[in-house]
Structures are given as structure tokens and as C-alpha cells.
Amino acid sequence: MNTLEILFYALSALAIISAVMVLVSKNPIHSVLWLILVFFAISGHYILLNAQFLAIVNIIVYAGAIMVLFLFVMMLMNVKKDNEPQKQLWVKLIGVIAGGSFLTLLIALVKQNTSFQGRDVLLKDGNIGLIHPLGQALFTDYVVPFEISSVLFLSAMVGAVIIGKK
């Protein structure tokens, strides 16, 4: 095992354990905090793939902004485990079975897809994830989709302000 593999397995274990803890935690605040840990682990994976810009933006946007808003809502609504509605056992069981079969389906799809086979992962290599090539690509080849999505964001922002004022 080389350093990369050790890092990969450590980060994967962290990501999976935290993701399970998000679901298992009774207290919603704890769930949010575990979710933040998941985002950090995923950012670590991005860094392994040499996608540094993606890694840091993942932390700034998801861990730094969206999760803070999640925490805000949880804290203001004062959600505690004793006033949370408890689901019945058979509902939980159905959820587990449905989720599990969907997971099996996804794994089967990824495994059988020929376009994924025989491909190498660019580990700590390649420069498409660095900020300079990424900016070049976004503002030359993909400038129209980029601008359209920014207009979409702007309209979402305006909508949020208008709804907030009512």
C-alpha cells in the first residue's frame, strides 16, 4: 500500500462512517455536524484527484455556508429528539428495503457500464481540476451554459428575496 492508497481508504472510511452516522443520529443537530464531516472527507478525495478548486469550493459553499444555514434552522426550530415524531417499525423496514434495492441497482449499473471499464483514475495528476485550466474551459468552451446557470442563480436569489419580504 502506498501513501495514496492509505489516504484513499482513510478518507473513504471517514466518509462512509460519517454518512451512516448522519442517518443513525437521533439528534438532528448531530446529523448536520456529521454531514459536515462527510463534506470534508469528500473534499479530501477531490484533493487526491488533484481537483483543488472543486475541493475548496465544496468546503466554502457546502460546509461553510449551506450547513451553517441548516444549523440555523435546526437551532431556531429547536428540534429535539423527544418531540420528533417516531416512525413505526414496519415503515422503517420498508425504507431500508427500498433504499437497499436502489443501492443494489446503482452498483449493478456502474459495474456493467462498459464506458467505466478499463479506465484509469488520474491521481495527483492532470491539471483539469486546477483553477487556471478550469477558468479557461468555463469562459471559452462552456461560456453559454455557464452564463445561463448564473442567470438561473440570480433569478433564484431575486425570488428568495421577494418571498422573504412577504
Binding site: 502506498n2 461553510g64 451553517v68
Partner: protein, 347 residues
């Protein structure tokens, strides 16, 4: 043996550098609390702490000892692990910025060239921004875990204040990024050393916005709404005692030192001593002069922080939000537009 085949000397070198930086920061922080009390005393025309040791120089040690000796209290209804995690997170987040700050050029020791920077990553500025946005978690977790409504309210205030001022801060950083063309702090400082002017000459408005936002992010008066002791008792650390309280108080000072270091590096030439040609002395001496220069700049900024704290009264909450959203953000946007126009006209 192929297991863990990497440059161990580099790892050890970086570890030593990290330990030195963290210890120095904590030592400076200790004396910043003393400096704060002395500056307050001078501005209020009184002698200030002068009993412990010569000129009261042992006062920080006495303060630290007092904090450690206090009884450790965890409220019964508090969420225990998060209550302990809060101060640790606040401290970690404030120390993490030091990783990308270039403290000097390079030192030649034992036949090795040692960079006086822990990590020169090519997303340095964004890393700083990410760490700043992490800083709010320590306060929010601590405030919520205390299970006290004043703590919670103050934590929510702190979080909303931090989020509001982060936007203007980011926009000011974007303007700086446009004029320097690099995200790496090392390159930004090196350009200022070799170029004619410091970045503050090109970005005066950007610096002003960044400075105000840094003050708001550090929760310093006039932005110390999260503490606001006369309406929220003591703020988010109301339930804390002993060294856990000490960590929260220390984290504020560490934040102040780190944001001073960032401002000095980004706008005031970092380790560059003005009107002095570093190539005339030996490289090691030049590096030490550089570190000293950066430290002096940091101390000057910290003094500015204190001066403002003991001069200006606290804002009201609506004034704070008005300033953040209706003045700082438009100003930062205008600054960005002007920078863009300037760059276009030079093309």
C-alpha cells in the same frame, strides 16, 4: 520498503515549522491580551496592570494560571461532547489560517532550503476564505450545546454577522485577485517585493472593506454584538469556565493576529521591508529581517484593532446589518467594477 515512501526530512521540517508557528502565535497572543489592557489603560488615562512583575509584564501568566485553576463546569443539561468540542473548534479554525501565510523567504540550514511557509498551495486565498467560514462553527456549536437561550441567541447573532460580512470580504478579495492575477499568497507577496508598490496602493478601497470585515469576523468592538454583555449577559461563552472559556477568549486574539498577518501579506507587502534591498545581506539574515518586518506589521495592525475597540462604541444590531448588506457589499461590488475597468483600460 515501499510503505510510506516519501521525503521524511520534509515532513519533519514542516512539523517543526508548524510547532514553531503555533507556539509563537500563542505566545504573542498571551502578550496581546496584556497589550490590550495596557492600550485600554492609556486611552482611558489610567496606569493599567502594573503589579505582577516589572511593568506588569507577568500579568498574562497570572491571568492564564487563574483561568486554568478555575473549576471546570459542564452544565447538566448541556450536550457534553459538543460543549467540549466548541472551544477546540474555535481555536483550531483560528490557527489553521497560519498554514498558508508566507512568514519569510527561505532559510538555508544544514544544506537544506527551508521555506518559511507551511504550504504554498495554488488556492491560498480561497483556503483562507474557507477557514474563515469554518470559524463560525466553534461559536455556534458552543452556544447551542450550552443549552442556554442567551448563549444560543448570541451564537445565532455571531453566525449571521459572520455570514453577512463574509460576502463583502470575498468580493474585496476578488478585486485583489483580479489585480494580482494569482491565488497563491507566496506569489502575491513576492510580486509586491519585486514590484514597485504594495497592493494597498492599487486597492485602497478593497483594503478598507477587508479591514472592516476582518474586524466584524473577529467579533471586535464595534462589531462585538455576539458578546454584548449588557443585553446577553456574557454572550455565547456564558456557560463556559476555566480553560474552555480561555480557549474562546484566546481564539478571538489569535483570529486578530491571523487576520493582521493576512492583511499585511495581501495589502502591505508581507515580509517586505521598504526601502531596503534584501540582496545586499546574506539570505539567512534577509529572511530573519523579513520575519521581523512581518511581525512588526502584525503588531501595528493589532494595535489599530485595539485603538478602534477602545474608541468607538458598539453598533446596534440593525445598524450592523445595514452596514454589512447595504453599504459594504455595494461598495465592494463598485470596487470590483473599478478594478475590472482599470484592467481593461490597461490591456
Amino acid at each position: 520498503m515501499t510503505l510510506l515512501a516519501f521525503d521524511w526530512a520534509m515532513i519533519i521540517e514542516k512539523l517543526i515549522l508548524i510547532v514553531i508557528i503555533v507556539l509563537t502565535t500563542l505566545l504573542i497572543t498571551l502578550y496581546t491580551t496584556f497589550g490590550e489592557r495596557k492600550v485600554a489603560a492609556i486611552l482611558q488615562d489610567r496606569p493599567g496592570p502594573n503589579r505582577a512583575g516589572p511593568f506588569g509584564l507577568l500579568q498574562p501568566l497570572a491571568d492564564g494560571l487563574k483561568l486554568i485553576m478555575k473549576e471546570e463546569i459542564i452544565p447538566t443539561s448541556a450536550s457534553k461532547w459538543l460543549f467540549i468540542l466548541g472551544p477546540g473548534l474555535a481555536m483550531t479554525a483560528s490557527l489553521m489560517t497560519s498554514a498558508v501565510i508566507p512568514w519569510g523567504t527561505e532559510i538555508h540550514l544544514f544544506g537544506r532550503t527551508i521555506e518559511l511557509q507551511v504550504a504554498d498551495i495554488n488556492i491560498g486565498l480561497l483556503y483562507v476564505f474557507a477557514v474563515v467560514s469554518m470559524g463560525v462553527y466553534g461559536i455556534m456549536i458552543g452556544g447551542w450545546a450550552s443549552n442556554n437561550k442567551f448563549s444560543l441567541m448570541s451564537a445565532l447573532r455571531a453566525a449571521s454577522q459572520a455570514i453577512s460580512y463574509e460576502i463583502a470580504m470575498g468580493l474585496a478579495l476578488i478585486a485583489l485577485l483580479m489585480s494580482t492575477g494569482s491565488l497563491s499568497l507566496k506569489t502575491i507577496v513576492a510580486d509586491q517585493v519585486t514590484g514597485n508598490w504594495w497592493n494597498v496602493v492599487y486597492q485602497p478601497l478593497g483594503f478598507l472593506i477587508f479591514f472592516i470585515c476582518a474586524m466584524a469576523e473577529c467579533n471586535r468592538t464595534p462589531f462585538d454584538l455576539p458578546e454584548a454583555e449588557n443585553e446577553l449577559n456574557f454572550g455565547y461563552h456564558q456557560e463556559y469556565s476555566s480553560m474552555k472559556l480561555g480557549f474562546y477568549l484566546f481564539a478571538e486574539y489569535v483570529n486578530m493576529i491571523m487576520s493582521s498577518a493576512i492583511m499585511a501579506s495581501m495589502y502591505f507587502g508581507g515580509y517586505d521591508l521598504p526601502f531596503f534591498d534584501e540582496s545586499t545581506v546574506a539570505p539567512n539574515i534577509a529572511a530573519i529581517i523579513g520575519v521581523g518586518t512581518l511581525l512588526i506589521k502584525i503588531v501595528l495592525f493589532v494595535f489599530l484593532f485595539m485603538w478602534i475597540r477602545w474608541t468607538i462604541p458598539r453598533f446596534r444590531y440593525d445598524q450592523l446589518m445595514n452596514l454589512g448588506w447595504k453599504k459594504m457589499i455595494p461598495l465592494a461590488l463598485i470596487n470590483m467594477l473599478i478594478t475590472g475597468a482599470f484592467i481593461l483600460s490597461k490591456l
